[in-house]
Subunit: 212 residues, 2 copies
């Protein structure tokens, strides 16, 4: 089956909730490395992708559409233009693997969705995107189930820790450092991040200093 991935991406000053542990330059570099891991997994499933970028950005592996409006508006601008199923996937999911993506893409339902930790939405696969629309932010997972329900779509909720783990805050780096297989994990180790355990809690340290 042919489908196309849509990956929203903010090249400038991304991941501000990591500001306490990375400079702006580091956050931009780290976000780009995570994006690379996501694109790599997507392409290994045989899928092409388009980045939806807030500013000019060059990517040799994908098309880039520059959309200055918000996340929802940008995606909802793109969806009616689809003539094939759409995979809407966030760029901060560096634990994703081709195998986990295939669990979504092989759904028999009209749509598959992966909730993010905390009630957000990390991945949506919708077979007829031209009639769908998204509403990210807040408890978007429930909202997307409602939208599907209003459209009469049956939905497959995919239970995946790898795809549920979006990297927003220092504590999220723990899972990436344990389970990552791509370049984002390497980037963290190369930049002085490591793991430690104290009283049964795992935390991230950088150059010996505890961060989460």
């Amino acid at each position: 089956m042919y489908f196309h991935a849509l990956i929203p991406y903010k090249p400038i000053n991304p991941k501000t909730r990591l500001s306490s542990v990375m400079t702006q330059g580091e956050r931009e570099e780290f976000a780009e490395v995570m994006l690379g891991d996501v694109i790599s997994a997507v392409r290994k499933t045989g899928c092409e992708a388009t980045l939806l970028c807030t500013t000019r950005y060059a990517c040799i592996e994908t098309r880039v559409a520059i959309r200055k409006e918000g996340l929802n508006e940008a995606i909802n601008w793109a969806l009616p233009q689809f003539r094939c199923p759409a995979l809407i996937i966030m760029s901060d999911l560096p634990l994703i693997t081709p195998e986990s993506l295939r669990r979504i893409l092989s759904t028999k339902a009209d749509m598959a969705i992966v909730p993010g930790l905390g009630g957000g939405t990390n991945v949506i696969f919708v077979k007829h995107p031209e009639t769908f629309h998204v509403e990210y932010y807040g408890f978007s997972f429930r909202r997307h189930l409602q939208i599907a329900d209003e459209l009469g779509l049956n939905v497959d909720i995919v239970d995946s820790m790898r795809m549920a783990t979006d990297i927003d805050e220092p504590v999220d780096l723990v899972e990436l450092m344990i389970h990552g297989r791509g370049n984002a994990r390497e980037w963290l180790y190369e930049h002085g991040f490591s793991l430690s355990i104290e009283n049964g809690r795992t935390s991230v340290t950088r150059n010996g200093e505890k961060l989460s």
Copy 2:
């Protein structure tokens, strides 16, 4: 296939990392409700269970073995007695469903394992438990992979957010309140817990007071 589940359980003063948000009596009640959800999911897969309890405890649905030693010692006392595959599962996984369990039980590998968030081990399914041993605490996920490797077992790592989410700290209640389908979620709502979102972060409140 016949197999038997082993569920370690501490009836007295459990879940001490929830002490800031629940009294001891509430923690004991909540731990028991979570255990009930786990037992219910296990039994729906057609499996019997034995609880490994630190103190006397009555459970009408399962056998109970009282073992006063530590978690590892208790499990490693039980494993050599198995004459069928063993499912070793923690009692604080109230998001577990029969469907998620079946992903483990249907493995073609010698063993399946589900990592917990933070590097722990939440579920192990091992077809020849009499030669296996466990080493919980700390980064036990990696340790269990090493043990399997030393025994020449091939291992299926099951990617599941539901089974990765063990309830230890107030922040863990978020996922239970969003995705729970059993009695543990109901218990939280009945006891004044609710969810709120602020600046994109989901947190738990109790009677209006922010807890995580």
